[in-house]
Symmetry: C2
Subunit: 472 residues, 2 copies
C-alpha cells in the first residue's frame, strides 16, 4: 500500500527507530543535572547537536533543538525580528512560503509591523533581483524556503542570500523540505528544519542562528537550548533525529537520483495518460522526490478519496480538500489551476513497481471522478457546438451566454464553463456567475490552458461574474 506523501511526514527511518529505542534508557533524565543519569543525557544531547550541526554545516553552538519545525520557524522569525527591532519592523518573504512563515508574518502585521510578499513565476520560483528590490532600510528579516513544499520547486537561495547579505538583512531559510537531501549552501543567517520530514521522529525541529546574527528569543525565559527553545528536551527523539539525518544524508545522492528518475517517469506519463492535466513546478530545479499535477474538471477531495481507496496516499492543494475552502496559496501565487490537484512525494525506498501501479490506476480514477461530476469528455472540451447545457443559459444574444454556478463548489464552475464555451461563436463570451473562491483562480488558469481569453471579473449579486471570450 504505497504512501506517497513524504512531504507531509515521512515514515520513521530504521536508523531513527533504532536510535530512539537505544536512547530511551539513557536519555530520559534532565541533562542539566550533574548526577550520572543527567551526565549521560547531556552527552547524548551534545553528540546529537554535533551530528546535526555537521549535517547542516554550522557550529554546534549555533544549533538548538525545538519541538517542531513550525516552532523553529515561529521562534526564528520572532527572535530575529525582535533582535533587529531598532532597524525596523518590516519582513520580506516569498508568496509561496509554508504557513508557519505566513502566519508569523501575519502576527507581525497584527502587532503593527508590515511585510512584503515577493511574487513567484509560473514555476513557483522567486526572482532574486525582484526579491532584493523588496528589501527596505527598515527590513529586519527576510525569509525564503529552500524548496517549495507543494510543488517541489527549488528557490534561488544562494543568490538571494548574497543579495540579502549585501543589504545587511539576515535571511531565514525554511529548509524543512530539503534538509534530508543536503545542506543549504550560501550566506544565510538563520535556518529551520523538521525531523519528521526526513524520517526522524515527530517532536524535533532545528533552529540555527549564525554567530553574529542579532537574536532576542521571545516569550518567558527558559534556560534550556541557549534560551531559544523552552521546555524539557526530548533527548531520545533528538538522538533519533540526528542519527537519521546522518543516515539519510549518507544515502541521499543515490536515493535522489533514483527517485528523480521515478518522478520523471510520473511527470512524463501523467500528461500522456490523463487528458486535461497540467504538471506544475519547475521541471529541473526541483526536489528529487516530489511532483504535483492538476486535473481539470476534477474534485480534489473525491480524487484523493478514490486514490486512497485504490491504495495510494497522496495530498492536494485543492480547496475542495480543505476545511477552509481556500485553495492553496502556492498554486494561487503561481497562477496555475488549483482544481484536481495532486501532490505525489515519494518516501525513500519507493519502488518502480509502486510508481508503475500508480500510473496504471490514475487514469481510470480521474476518468471515474470526472464522469461522476458530469465533466465534459476530453473531445467535448475542444470547442464544438453542443446542445444547451444545464443550468440553462439565461436569455441573451446568441454570442453571449451566462452560466449560473452560484452556490456550487470547485470544480463545477469550470466544468460548466467548459461545457458551454462551444455554444457561443468565436468572439462570443461566456459569463460564469460563481461565489466559489477557487473560481477566481481556476477560470483564468483554464483560459490560459485552453487558449481562450479571460476578459475579467465583475461584481455580481451574491458573487462574481467571470467573463471569458471564445478565441478558438
Amino acid at each position: 500500500m504505497p504512501y506517497f506523501d513524504a512531504a507531509s511526514s515521512a515514515p520513521l527511518h530504521p536508523v531513527a527507530r533504532q536510535a530512539l529505542h537505544a536512547s530511551l534508557d539513557e536519555g530520559w533524565a534532565d541533562p542539566a543535572r550533574l548526577y550520572r543519569e543527567g551526565r549521560r543525557a547531556a552527552l547524548l544531547l551534545d553528540a546529537a547537536r554535533e551530528t546535526a550541526a555537521e549535517a547542516v554545516g554550522c557550529r554546534p553552538d549555533e544549533l538548538v533543538f525545538t519541538s517542531s519545525g513550525t516552532r523553529a520557524v515561529h521562534s526564528a522569525v520572532s527572535g530575529a525580528l525582535s533582535g533587529r527591532r531598532r532597524v525596523g519592523r518590516h519582513l520580506v518573504l516569498s508568496a509561496v512560503e509554508h504557513s508557519s512563515v505566513l502566519h508569523s508574518a501575519a502576527t507581525l502585521e497584527a502587532a503593527g509591523g508590515s511585510f512584503t510578499e515577493v511574487p513567484v513565476d509560473r514555476t513557483g520560483a522567486v526572482d532574486p533581483t525582484a526579491y532584493g528590490r523588496a528589501l527596505r532600510p527598515d527590513t529586519a528579516l527576510a525569509c525564503l524556503q529552500s524548496a517549495n513544499h507543494e510543488v517541489g520547486t527549488e528557490q534561488p537561495v544562494v543568490e538571494t542570500a548574497e543579495i540579502c547579505a549585501e543589504a545587511g538583512v539576515p535571511l531565514l531559510v525554511d529548509a524543512a523540505q530539503s534538509l534530508g537531501w543536503g545542506p543549504v549552501p550560501g550566506r544565510w543567517s538563520l535556518l529551520a528544519g523538521s525531523a519528521h520530514k526526513w524520517g526522524g521522529p515527530a517532536g524535533v525541529g532545528l533552529l540555527v542562528v549564525r554567530k553574529g546574527v542579532r537574536f532576542a528569543p521571545q516569550g518567558p525565559v527558559d534556560e534550556r537550548e541557549s534560551g531559544r527553545a523552552a521546555g524539557f528536551q526530548n533527548i531520545p527523539a533528538i538522538v533519533a533525529a540526528a542519527a537519521s539525518l546522518r543516515a539519510v544524508r549518507a544515502e541521499a545522492e543515490a536515493e535522489a537520483e533514483r527517485l528523480r528518475a521515478l518522478v520523471g517517469r510520473i511527470r512524463a506519463a501523467v500528461g500522456d495518460l490523463v487528458p486535461d492535466v497540467e504538471v506544475v513546478g519547475d521541471p529541473v530545479r526541483r526536489l528529487p522526490h516530489l511532483v504535483t499535477f492538476s486535473c481539470l474538471y476534477v474534485d480534489g477531495e473525491t480524487l484523493l478519496h478514490e486514490l486512497d481507496r485504490a491504495g495510494f496516499s497522496v495530498s492536494s492543494g485543492s480547496s475542495c480538500t480543505s476545511s477552509t475552502l481556500t485553495p492553496s496559496h502556492v498554486l494561487k501565487a503561481m497562477g496555475v489551476i488549483t482544481e484536481g490537484n495532486v501532490r505525489v512525494s515519494l518516501p525513500s525506498g519507493t519502488t518502480g513497481e509502486e510508481v508503475g501501479t500508480f500510473l496504471d490506476v490514475l487514469p481510470g480514477v480521474v476518468a471515474g471522478v470526472r464522469a461522476k461530476l458530469g465533466a465534459p469528455a476530453p473531445a467535448a472540451t475542444s470547442p464544438a457546438p453542443s446542445p444547451a447545457p444545464s443550468p440553462a443559459p439565461s436569455p441573451a444574444p446568441r454570442d453571449s451566454l451566462v452560466v449560473d454556478a452560484l452556490g456550487r463548489r470547485c470544480p463545477i464552475p469550470v466544468i460548466e464553463l467548459a461545457k458551454v464555451i462551444g455554444g457561443v461563436p468565436v468572439g462570443g463570451t461566456v459569463t460564469v456567475l460563481s461565489d466559489d473562491e477557487a473560481a477566481r483562480l481556476d477560470i483564468p488558469a483554464w483560459c490560459a490552458m485552453r487558449e481562450q481569453e479571460y476578459v475579467g471579473e465583475e461584481l455580481a449579486d451574491h458573487g462574481s461574474a467571470y467573463v471569458v471570450r471564445r478565441l478558438l
Copy 2:
C-alpha cells in the same frame, strides 16, 4: 544505582515504552490527512486524548497536547491573560511556583502588566484566605501549583479554586508534580501537566482549558490542537504519555502508600542520623514520594557530587549547585535554610533496601563534606568559649566580633558565624560581612534553628553586614 530525582524526570514507565514502540508504526503520519495513514494517526490521537482527559477529569475537547509542561504553562498563562485582557492585566501567583510560571509573570510585567506573589508559610503552603485577598478587580488570572516541586507540600487548591471562582477569576493549576498521583479536585479553570514527570516520554505536556474560560492563544496561528499548541503532533509520544498516565494511576494508591512509608522513614531517620539538619515542607499534606532536608555547614554541590559518587542521584535547591548562585526561590519564600539542601524524590518501584542504603551512606557523606569545609563539629556549635577563629576577628570590644566572609560562598559565611558565636558573651553580637546571596537567607535561618537573635542586615563595603546576637 538508585535514582532519587523523580521530581526532575522519572524513568520511562514500561507501559510508556511499550505504547511508544507500538505506535511508532501507526502514528507517524499527519492526523489531519484523510488517507489511511492519516486516519490511523488521528484515531490514535483521539484515543490518547480521551484517555488523558479521563485521567484529568475533563472533556476530551478541553484538553490539548503541548510539547512540554513548560509550554503548557506558558500557553496557559499567555492565552488566559489575553482572553481576559478587558478585565485587566494583573496576575496572582504563589511565591513558590515553578519557574515556568514565574517567568510567565515576568513576561507579563515586562509587557506592562503586573503580578502579586502570595507568600507561603514555613511549610511552603499558601493560605487560601490570603490568596483571595490578593485578587483584584483587574486580576485576569490566578496560578497555583497542586504541590510544590522542591519540598512536596500540597497546596490548598480546592479552597483556593473556590475563592477564585467566587471572585470570577480563572485559576490555573500547575499539576506537573501531582498528576500521576491523582486528578486535581475543585473548581479550577485551567490545568497544566508534564508527561515525563509521571513516567511518560519527554516531549508531551497537557493543557486543559475548561469550557467557558476565555482563552486567546498567542503567537502565530496554527490549526492543530484547537489552535492552542503549534507544531506537528508527536503522536507516538502522546500515545505513550496517555497510556502511562493510565498505568501509573492504576498503581497510584498502593504505590503512594508504599512510598509514603519510605519517605516517612527518611524524614524520621535524617534528623536522628545527621546532626544540624532540618527537614522542610509539610509533614502531612505532601506528595507521597518526595522529601527535602537541609544540612547546615554543607556545600550543596559537593554534597550532591559525593552522593553521586556513592551511587545516589538527588537534586538540590542550594545556590552552590546552580550556575546563577541564586538560592531556590522556594526555600527563600519559606524562610528555611538553603545550604546543604537535598531533595529526594523516589520513582515508582523504589525499594526499602535502596532507601536503607541511602540512610546508611548519608551521615558519612555529610560528615565528610563538613570536615573538608572545616565546619564546626556538632558539639562546637553549642556555644562554648573557643580560641579565636580564623579569619581573625577585627580589633573590637570583647562583646562584639566581626567576621569577614567577603568573596566566600555558601556555606562558608554560616560556618564562620557558627565557629565564632561562642567567642562572644551572651548578649554580645557577631557581625558577618558577606557578599553571598545565600547568606541573606541562611544567616537568619541559622539563627532561627539555633535560637539566636538575628538583629538585621546593614549595608557594608562590597556587601552586607549581618548582625547576630548571642542569646544562649
